[in-house]
Symmetry: C2
Subunit: 328 residues, 2 copies
């Protein structure tokens, strides 16, 4: 693969030419009206649409030493598609705003677009990028907004879990965090700074867990499968099973009781960025798609989440309080 960090910069090429080179690489989908006007027009056959937005910032959210531009494009699309799936909706479109420093090679933006396309093709085929905005910033920043159609179904909220329901998950647990831990351990130079050369030399570059950290694979189709099967509550696992289960428990006014088996290790319990789906189902429902049982919904006790009668801590990462300012 050619190194995208070479060649003419966006400042040299100018906005229109950059746009032209990016747009042709993005998945077009089938919007009612695509880019070119002040707005795109997107079909909403349901008469409602779901919408989510998420910003990825160089430094706290990704580092060029550890992620390629294509990885960042993939992740920006995948994480937003996952939020759409978590409502039980089918992704219907994305808009992407991107701000890059003026000395960014155009090839970096092209690779980013390739990553968006790869993620959409793999995870939500038919969903297109219907619009966007290109800006300049000292800090590389991506903001994705994703839409979905509910197909006449009620949205699956966090607040619907009922005592007696089964707690189940679809997707990875702890893999993205294991990959991130490997990068923090092996992907740094002798001063502890993120370094691309260390990622390659250590073999971390070929580690499948590192790949999952860079390119999460949320089980998008299982969102609709869960809704159709009668899921009572659902959310996307972005901050780790324990903290996200805590959110579902509090929203529903219940406690979630994890089974002794499978025995979940600390990474599975507390590792973030897997973007699996956590859902609750009535006990008589056969778990659909890739869902597997993790526990049961019980009456609200002192803790949000328990295992073997013991509370499971449900705290996690706070970007304002916890980011160390490093950008690598």
């Amino acid at each position: 693969m050619d190194d995208p960090w070479t060649g003419p910069t966006v400042g040299q090429v100018g906005e229109l030419a950059v746009l032209d080179r990016i747009v042709r690489r993005l998945p077009a989908g089938a919007p009612a009206l695509g880019p070119g006007d002040d707005c795109a027009v997107v079909a909403a056959p349901d008469g409602r649409f779901v919408v989510t937005t998420d910003m990825m910032v160089h430094g706290p959210d990704f580092r060029w030493a550890w992620s390629s531009p294509e990885d960042v494009g993939w992740k920006a699309a995948a994480t937003n598609l996952s939020d759409v799936a978590a409502m039980g909706a089918v992704p219907s479109g994305l808009v992407i705003a991107l701000a890059a420093p003026q000395d960014t090679p155009v090839a970096v933006l092209e690779s980013f677009a390739d990553g968006v396309r790869a993620a959409v093709d793999a995870l939500a085929p038919g969903c297109g990028v219907v619009g966007g905005d290109l800006s300049t910033s000292a800090t590389f920043t991506v903001s994705v907004t994703a839409f979905g159609d509910l197909g006449g179904r009620a949205p699956v909220l966090r607040s619907g879990a009922r005592v007696g329901d089964v707690l189940a998950v679809s997707g990875d647990l702890g893999r993205a965090a294991r990959g991130l831990a490997r990068l923090f351990r092996d992907g740094v130079d002798t001063d502890g700074e993120p370094a691309r050369s260390a990622v390659v030399a250590s073999g971390a570059d070929a580690d499948p867990d590192v790949d999952r950290q860079r390119r999460p694979v949320p089980p998008i189709a299982d969102g609709v499968h869960a809704a159709t099967a009668g899921a009572t509550a659902m959310l996307d696992l972005s901050d780790g099973l324990a903290i996200d289960a805590g959110r579902l428990a509090r929203a529903s006014g219940v406690t979630l009781d994890l089974d002794p088996e499978p025995r979940l290790d600390d990474l599975a319990l507390h590792g973030g960025e897997d973007h699996g789906l956590l859902a609750t189902f009535p006990p008589e429902v056969a778990l659909p798609g890739g869902f597997r049982r993790l526990g049961a919904v019980v009456a609200r006790g002192d803790a949000d989440v328990v295992r073997g009668g013991e509370p499971v801590p449900t705290t996690g990462w706070d970007p304002y309080a916890d980011w160390d300012g490093a950008a690598g």
Copy 2:
């Protein structure tokens, strides 16, 4: 007014408390389902929705020496609402992603939210902020995505102008640019750096044109008025009358012939950020709302826009090529 640049910072207060303090200040609107889940649910009675996204970055798009946090909130909302109006749609919701440095006072984010609310209350009452995302960045960045409902009407595109139509505008021409020119002249210190003290001392702070630069007042309701009256093409004036008229002309395959009167000066022709609406109407239509005649649509010639037989230049600002890197 209290100085928002004081008090505890977002890094000290933490994400949840910051969110809590912001959300209560934002206009709630009437979404089918508000914040709190992975997605918001927004009504789309038309069965389609229009969507636009726009990122505002500290440095190229605004400077704290010249704009208050409330100004930035107003402008971020107003510019996106204007794009919705330019399709002939009624704004139905906004999502806002915001990234702030960790040392930003929480009061800055609260003031930003107050500005969003003021703009929505003034320009599109009933339209709410249905969701968002809060992040950390070395560069203060706001990304707004706005939605609108077409109410069963066809979207008004840039490409529909026909020979014989009347060219008309609603809203300011040149005021925002006059305000910006004043800030560049009077709002700088002896080294030419943007300085709040100079803005106040020079009286620029009380200049109504400066106010329009900071807080554009797009004629949102005139978007629907134009669509209902039968506008054949329309767009939002963001980069200046000449460059935006050029876009409409090229998309429609026509030339726009400006009347000798009113005589438009250079600021009216080439000044950006007014966020008025430029539209074309069949000749028999009585111009609706605040629209006034500027010229006529004629057969495609060598130039996109002409006046008195002479071509009007239709070039403008390119953020990649033209931003000087200053952030003030």
